[in-house]
């Protein structure tokens, strides 16, 4: 049974979802802006030197990334809960309160990042400025805030899931979100031992982005296929369980590929190599699944003799298909070619990682979350069939083209680093700068900046479209 958007109007859960999406989109813009600052600094090192240094710009760039995705993820769950469970989300008042707590905390954290930047080497700085651990820099007070907000969110999800109709999608989300929230605890303590530090740090980062987030995407993709093309729920949910098995089966121990060089024992070479080699398989499988379901549903429609598209939301579906493809491309291909220890020895800590990071975060997560934003626009405006507009097409092509361009540029830069700084000079200070000053590297960084600007323009089109398309008369109501 396909989900019906139009029943959702007036749902408080859906209203909260739109709040989450709105703030997520703002942070997405901030992410791109600070990314641009950092990209300019690669080209013009004096830019904002000792005002907004690279370290601060990059911290804001990657923190805004993580937080906008978490916001959009929470928002997507609040959006789909009434559709899946058939009831209003339980505890929605607390959910709304926690939203404002979350937003306020983020604003304070960002202001401190921007205006305090660094503190003395003591625990107070860790508590109130930042923890200086890539991706999870948030100061400790905010850590506790995040845990409270996440627990409130998980409680909403569990109460609603158990009281209403607990579909397969909701069941997967319940299990996945509790793991997602729980894993954050692994990144909340301080230790003098940097190997132990990074060991647990990867529990948060890897087990989020290569396990729980991927499963989350599987669940959202399942919801999207049911909602947008009326795919058969039983098929989609069975497939979701298979994906969970494949993703967790390969992803959990795939963490081994982060344990090659941080002081951990050699056996992680074998574990990392084996499970990393398997990690692309579920991504390939997710890709076929979308193709398969689309083909089957359209085929069934065509068989009725009425030639009409089964897709009721063109922009959202475009982003969902880009997700299936982008996940495979960014996480799969760009992940696989530097994952085996033999080659990772030379690529670890180069722009290859950065290339992979850009394409994988975008392909695997940004795409589907933008898709969910379009589903929300469709739902809140009561649109039966939503079509592309000029802006939505410009947004898709400029953002995808921009990110792809940045990825290719960073890959070229990484290749220079591997050859010059790593294979020949062995990662010394001088070797590092020899690599950085190479012509190919420098030009790659120029292109990365250009492509970053293209991405940002695409974002402006996206923002315009999300704000205006709901009232556009081209859609069928």
């Amino acid at each position: 049974m396909a989900n019906n958007h139009l029943t959702g109007i007036g749902s408080e859960s859906k209203q909260l979802a739109t709040w989450y999406f709105t703030f997520a989109a703002i942070l997405f813009g901030a992410q791109l802006l600070f990314g641009l600052v950092a990209a300019i600094q690669y080209v013009m090192p004096g830019f904002l030197f000792e005002l907004l240094d690279f370290s601060v710009a990059r911290m804001l760039h990657i923190n805004a990334l993580v937080v906008w995705m978490v916001f959009a993820m929470f928002g997507s769950v609040y959006w789909l809960l009434p559709d899946e469970t058939g009831i209003e989300t339980i505890g929605i008042k607390i959910g709304k309160l926690l939203y404002w707590v979350f937003v306020a905390a983020i604003v304070v954290v960002v202001l401190v990042y921007l205006f305090v930047q660094v503190g003395p080497a003591d625990e107070t700085s860790i508590w109130f400025i930042h923890e200086g651990r890539e991706y999870i820099e948030a100061p400790r007070w905010a850590d506790f805030g995040i845990v409270v907000v996440a627990l409130g969110f998980v409680a909403n999800l569990f109460l609603t899931g158990t009281a209403g109709n607990r579909s397969g999608i909701v069941t997967v989300l319940m299990a996945d979100m509790i793991a997602f929230a729980g894993l954050y605890l692994a990144g909340m303590f301080f230790t003098d031992n940097i190997s132990v530090d990074q060991y647990w740090w990867w529990w948060v980062i890897h087990l989020w982005v290569e396990a729980t987030w991927e499963v989350y995407v599987g669940a959202i993709a399942a919801y999207g296929l049911i909602t947008m093309i009326g795919a058969h729920r039983k098929v989609v949910e069975m497939w979701l369980w298979i994906e969970v098995a494949m993703l967790f089966g390969s992803g959990i121990l795939g963490i081994g590929h982060h344990y090659f060089w941080i002081g951990t024992p050699e056996y992680w070479w074998e574990i990392g190599a084996l499970f990393s080699a398997l990690e692309p398989l579920p991504l390939v499988a997710m890709f076929i699944h979308v193709l398969y379901d689309w083909g089957k549903t359209q085929g069934a429609q065509d068989a009725t003799g009425v030639e009409v598209s089964v897709i009721n939301n063109k922009p959202a579906f475009t982003w969902f298909v880009l997700n299936a493809f982008g996940n495979f491309l960014g996480a799969g291909i760009w992940g696989f070619f530097h994952t085996l220890p033999q080659v990772n020895l030379y690529t670890h800590g180069t722009q290859f990682t950065s290339a992979h990071g850009h394409l994988a975060f975008f392909g695997a997560y940004a795409t589907i979350l933008i898709g969910m934003m379009y589903i929300a626009v469709q739902g809140t405006n009561g649109i039966k069939v939503m079509k592309h507009t000029k802006s939505s097409l410009w947004a898709v092509s400029m953002i995808c083209g921009g990110v792809m361009g940045m990825t290719v540029a960073l890959t070229v830069a990484g290749y220079v680093q591997v050859l010059v700084s790593r294979a020949q000079m062995g990662a010394t200070w001088a070797g590092y700068f020899d690599g950085q000053s190479g012509m190919w590297f420098a030009q790659a960084m120029d292109w990365r900046l250009v492509m970053g600007a293209v991405t940002f323009l695409g974002f402006l089109f996206l923002a315009k479209d999300l704000l205006s398309t709901g009232k556009n008369p081209v859609h069928e109501r």
């Binding site: 098929v235 084996l274 692309p280 398989l281 390939v284 499988a285 495979f328 080659v343 294979a423």
Partner: protein, 108 residues
């Protein structure tokens, strides 16, 4: 089962590019194999294109072999790569088989 010689040999400078290209092509060809197979099964492509899918799988396997030998992988990693190649071979068959069964049960 520690591979003693995992890192013994340096990768030759000229080998990096072929390694990166072949390991990317593994998944590109793998994607074509799986994509064509599925497209034929859901009748988006004509039946005669099926052998092309298998040719892509062979290319995938060859790229894996090339990548592995240039990297001087040890015995264990070599086995892991063979498992991955076989897994990729079986994947679309298994997916199609299962999806087909569910559709049969639910639509008739």
């Amino acid at each position: 089962m520690i591979e003693e010689v995992v890192m013994r040999q340096d990768i030759a400078l000229d080998d990096f590019l072929p390694i990166f290209i072949s390991s990317s092509l593994v998944l590109v060809f793998g994607g074509f194999y799986v994509g064509i197979y599925t497209a034929v099964k859901v009748k988006l492509l004509k039946k005669w294109t099926m052998p092309i899918a298998y040719i892509f799988w062979m290319l995938t396997a060859y790229c894996l072999y090339l990548m592995g030998s240039l990297m001087h992988v040890g015995e264990f990693t070599a086995k892991a790569l063979v498992v991955a190649a076989i897994g990729l071979f079986l994947l679309p068959h298994a997916v199609y088989f299962m999806q087909h069964q569910v559709h049969e049960e639910n639509e008739h």
